[in-house]
């Protein structure tokens, strides 16, 4: 950061953190996004400039508020402080000090004033059965509120598994028709940050990317930022060497479990769940704090069709090994043991020569005897 002069005194006052702590945070976020220190400076600049703080409308649907609660408990230096000041949080049902008509008016006003500029965060599933009557806020259905807020949003982020693909209430038989935001807002690009609860680092990283560059990070076909959800848990799991060596825990508390062996046989869904838990763990607590780290198989909470859908202890479909992935093809042979066509021909020639020599020998026998006569 040598040679870059930015006045952070304003930030220090506004956020209540030291310049050093602030830059450390930005560098950390940039690193976890796989970006350079240059990006960290860009992020610091973006955050330091109060004019660039985007207004945020935060909607809650069918959910337990887990994503917000997780975000509040982030262990990064005063992260909740930072995130609340980094963005201008105009409407958030859990965190708003006001209530009732007051906050609803503020929301409407902000959406009107910041038309096309605000960030919409959706937390919780949207019930669509019976026109969405199973979830109402201020007399309106979540379905209508979502469409209304999405119409003029600059970007939409679905935060948590419920908002991303429906979550626990979308599990069979799904009586309310709980649906994820991408399925409701089919014509919009919705960035999804699945997880139950999702890792706040994945959310903050994505939002900071948006604030810094004015666009969303690269996403996959399910709207997940590739930097966070690009790999299977199985790929980066520190128990993976045990999987490869055939060392599995057979039951909870057995010798293998105590020794930290692979949890695949106990139903770990790591091989079919895309997330960055093994590299980030959870909420920066450290010490292996995430399910597999503490000895429980991955539940697949962030993967639609796995979490809340597959039985907890049934075996996962291993997706890592989709070929080609270090497997010899059926027809591959080690270069030994088989007779090639050339070798067979040579052997044939040898046999033929032996037969011919014998015949000639018999003939010569005849000639010899003839001469002796």
């Amino acid at each position: 950061m040598v040679g870059i002069e930015i006045d952070y005194s304003e930030v220090e006052k506004r956020l209540g953190v030291s310049r050093r702590t602030f830059l450390k945070f930005c560098t950390g976020v940039a690193a976890s996004l796989g970006l350079s220190t240059h990006a960290a400076v860009a992020m610091a600049n973006a955050v330091a400039d109060p004019k660039r703080r985007p207004p945020v409308i935060w909607l809650h649907g069918q959910e337990c508020t887990g994503p917000t609660e997780a975000l509040l408990r982030s262990e990064q230096p005063s992260m909740e402080h930072l995130i609340l000041d980094l963005i201008s949080l105009d409407y958030h049902q859990t965190l708003d000090a006001g209530a009732g008509h007051q906050v609803e008016d503020i929301k409407k006003k902000s959406m009107l004033e910041n038309k096309g500029k605000y960030l919409l965060v959706i937390e919780g599933a949207i019930p669509i059965k019976d026109n969405g009557i199973y979830c109402k806020i201020a007399g309106e259905t979540m379905l209508d509120l979502t469409h209304e807020a999405a119409a003029n949003a600059a970007a939409i982020v679905a935060y948590g598994s419920c908002a991303s693909w429906g979550g626990v209430q979308s599990a069979s038989p799904n009586p309310t028709g709980a649906t994820g935001a991408p399925q409701v807002l089919k014509d919009k690009t919705v960035v999804t940050i699945p997880g139950c609860p999702p890792n706040p680092a994945n959310f903050i990283g994505t939002v900071l990317y948006f604030v810094t560059y004015g666009k969303l990070p690269p996403i996959d076909d399910k709207g997940r930022p590739k930097w966070a959800y690009g790999r299977l848990i199985h790929e980066n799991c520190y128990r993976r060497p045990h999987f490869d060596a055939g060392r599995f825990a057979n039951e909870f508390g057995d010798e293998g479990h105590q020794k930290g062996y692979c949890l695949y046989k106990l139903g770990c869904k790591g091989p079919e769940t895309y997330n960055n838990c093994p590299s980030l763990e959870y909420n920066n607590v450290g010490g292996g704090v995430w399910p597999v780290g503490v000895g429980h198989p991955c539940f697949g909470c962030s993967e639609g069709g796995v979490g809340f859908e597959k039985p907890m202890f049934s075996l996962a479909d291993v997706k890592t090994h989709t070929p080609p992935n270090m497997f010899p093809a059926i027809e591959t042979r080690e270069a030994s043991g088989t007779m090639t066509a050339g070798a067979a021909a040579l052997a044939g020639v040898a046999v033929g020569a032996a037969i011919g020599a014998t015949a000639m020998g018999a003939k010569k026998l005849d000639e010899k005897e003839g001469k002796q006569e």
Partner: protein
């Protein structure tokens, strides 16, 4: 004795011996207590735990492509690899166990034939089949290194240690070779023990065949409780949807049957299984060999033929002579 009479007598005798002994030897029957393994390709997830434990138990080094590589990546069976997981893939290879645009895993290891070709062709009983367990073992102490067994095996299983100065034949002996004797000790094979999905299942051949037949009868999509380890006393189970099995148990009848059987949802010719008939090569070859050698018939015929050639070529000397 006239040449004509001699030939007549010889040929007549040979024909008589051939007629009396030319009875085909049938395929050998599986031993009633034979043990084996069942490989269910649809359960295999390609973790290669079986390959790893096999190397460990048989004290074999990893096979690598180059010196920088430190992990085992054997491409096929060799003098240093007794068990390997291979992949079948077609098109975009996205769907597991699909023949078209799919992939599946296939295990390559000794099939432990009920009527083994390697045992039949071995000239010095270095290849033996255990009378009770049916396990085919190799005994290096009597092996002369002729490598007939490598040619006699339809599955390309016995492999020679070409890289060793005093190389030997190596093959899977179902973890029951002298010094390991897992089966004799009541344990299962290493590969069956570590398999996390029960794709490799150990047990009595009869019970395995029954299990395989039962799986063929299950409806695709229903939930079945798959056993792990030993089919007669599984150490655990796991529930899984039944795939669309091909109605074919490789090893039930192929070439007289095998103790290691395979089931799959992809046809076996796609999985590199050889086109062997129901008749074992050993029974065909032994019928021919034992017939032509019975009562020294082949040597007798050969002697007759040679005698004829010699006599014809030296006929002038003897004609009218004092024979």
């Amino acid at each position: 004795m006239k040449r004509r009479d001699f030939l007549k007598a010889t040929l007549g005798g040979t024909a008589a011996t051939l007629c009396t002994t030319a009875e085909a030897r049938p395929n050998l029957e599986p031993a009633p207590e034979a043990v084996g393994m069942l490989f269910d390709s649809t359960l295999c997830v390609g973790c290669k735990a079986c390959v790893s434990i096999c190397k460990e138990l048989n004290d074999m080094p990893p096979v690598t492509d180059n010196e920088q590589q430190i992990w085992d990546s054997a491409r096929d069976l060799s003098g240093e690899t007794l068990n390997v997981i291979k992949v079948y893939k077609d098109g975009d290879a996205k769907t597991k166990d699909a023949e078209i645009n799919g992939y599946c895993f296939e295990k390559r290891s000794c099939m432990h034939c009920v009527d083994p070709g390697c045992v039949s062709v071995c000239p010095c009983t270095a290849m033996r089949q255990h009378k009770v367990t049916g396990i085919v073992t190799h005994h290096a102490d009597v092996c002369i290194g002729c490598r007939n067994c490598m040619v006699g095996c339809p599955y390309n299983v016995p492999q020679f240690e070409y890289n060793e100065l005093f190389g030997q034949i190596q093959k899977c002996q179902m973890c029951n070779q002298a010094g390991l004797e897992r089966v004799d000790k009541g344990q299962m094979t290493g590969c069956a023990e570590v398999c996390p999905t029960g794709a490799t299942l150990f047990g009595p051949r009869k019970a395995l065949l029954q299990e395989a037949k039962h799986r063929m009868q299950l409806k695709p999509g229903e939930i079945y409780n798959y056993p792990r380890g030993d089919v007669s006393k599984p150490y655990s189970h796991h529930e899984k949807e039944v795939p669309a099995y091909r109605d074919h148990i490789w090893g039930e009848k192929e070439a007289g049957g095998t103790s290691v059987m395979h089931i799959s949802s992809v046809p076996f010719d796609k999985l590199g299984m050889p086109a062997v008939g129901d008749r074992s090569a050993a029974s065909v070859a032994e019928t021919v060999q034992h017939s032509i050698y019975s009562f020294m018939a082949l040597p007798a015929v050969a002697l007759a033929g040679l005698t004829y050639v010699v006599r014809r070529n030296t006929d002038d000397d003897n004609d009218g002579g004092e024979s």
